[in-house]
Symmetry: C2
Subunit: 146 residues, 2 copies
C-alpha cells in the first residue's frame, strides 16, 4: 500500500543534475559570503538559502564538513563565541590565505562560465575546423540505415 516510491530511473535525475552541476560552487559561495564579514555555520545556511533564488542552497551535511575542510587547509579560522547565550556559536572568518584562494576560485569560475558561453555561442557557426582538409564528408551522407 505504501511502497509507491519512484521506480522511474530517469525522473529524479533533476536533483542529481542540479547537485552535480553545483559541485564546487558551494565552496565559492561560502567563501564569498565570508569575505564580507564573519558568519556562523547555521547563519551561512540561511544566507545561502535566501540568496540567488535558492539555487545555491546548501544542506547541513554538506556545509559542516566543508567548513572543517576549509579550516584544516587554513582558508578560514573558527572561534566559539557565547554572546551571553548558553549555546555558543562558532564563527568563521576568512584568513588572508583564504582570501587569495577565493581569488583563484573566482577566476576559475569565471573561466568556466566564459568557456561555456563561448561554446554555446559558436555552436551555430561551427561547420568545420582544421583536421586534415575534408569538408563535404559528414554533411551529405545518407548511407546509414537503421
Amino acid at each position: 500500500m505504501s511502497e509507491d516510491m519512484e521506480t522511474t530511473p530517469g525522473s529524479a535525475t533533476i536533483a542529481r543534475l542540479r547537485r552535480e552541476l553545483a559541485r564546487g560552487t558551494t565552496e565559492l559561495a561560502v567563501l564569498s559570503v565570508l569575505s564580507v564579514r564573519r558568519r556562523y555555520g547555521y547563519e551561512l545556511l540561511k544566507v545561502l538559502r535566501e540568496t540567488g533564488e535558492g539555487v545555491l542552497e546548501v544542506k547541513e551535511g554538506t556545509l559542516y564538513p566543508l567548513l572543517h575542510r576549509l579550516e584544516d587547509s587554513g582558508h578560514i579560522r573558527a572561534s566559539w563565541e557565547a554572546e551571553g547565550r548558553a549555546r555558543p556559536r562558532k564563527y568563521y572568518v576568512l584568513t588572508p590565505d583564504g582570501r587569495a584562494y577565493l581569488g583563484m576560485l573566482r577566476a576559475e569560475w569565471g573561466g568556466l562560465v566564459d568557456g561555456m558561453r563561448q561554446l554555446l555561442d559558436t555552436l551555430g557557426e561551427v561547420q568545420e575546423w582544421p583536421t586534415s582538409g575534408r569538408s563535404s564528408t559528414t554533411t551529405r551522407k545518407e548511407s546509414d540505415a537503421t
Copy 2:
C-alpha cells in the same frame, strides 16, 4: 631514490579545484556539441579541446563512460560507421529525448550562473535579511573582540 612526487598537500589543488568545478559541465558541453550534428567520440575530444580556451577539456576516461551513460538513458544513439576505412567510427546523435534533456540542463546551468552572479553582486550590500522580525540585532553589534 625516485620518489619525490609532490609532497605539498595544498599545491596541486588547482587541478582538483578545476575538476570539481567543471563537474556536470561535461555533459552539457557534449550534448551541446551533439545538438549541432553527429560526432564520434574522438572527434568530440578534439572539438572540446579546441573550444573555450581548453577550459572544457575532457579526458578519454571521462568521455567514453559518459557517452555510454547517455546512450543507456536514451539521450543519444550510437551507430558504427565504416566510411571505407577498416577501423569504423562510432557516431553519436542526439535523440529527441536528449534534446529535451539538454534544454533542462541549459536552464539549470543558466540558473546556477545567475544565482552565483547575484550572490557576488549582493555581497557588498547585504547587511540584514528577514528572519523573524529582529532588525537591529546583527546590524548594530560591535561588542565582538579579537
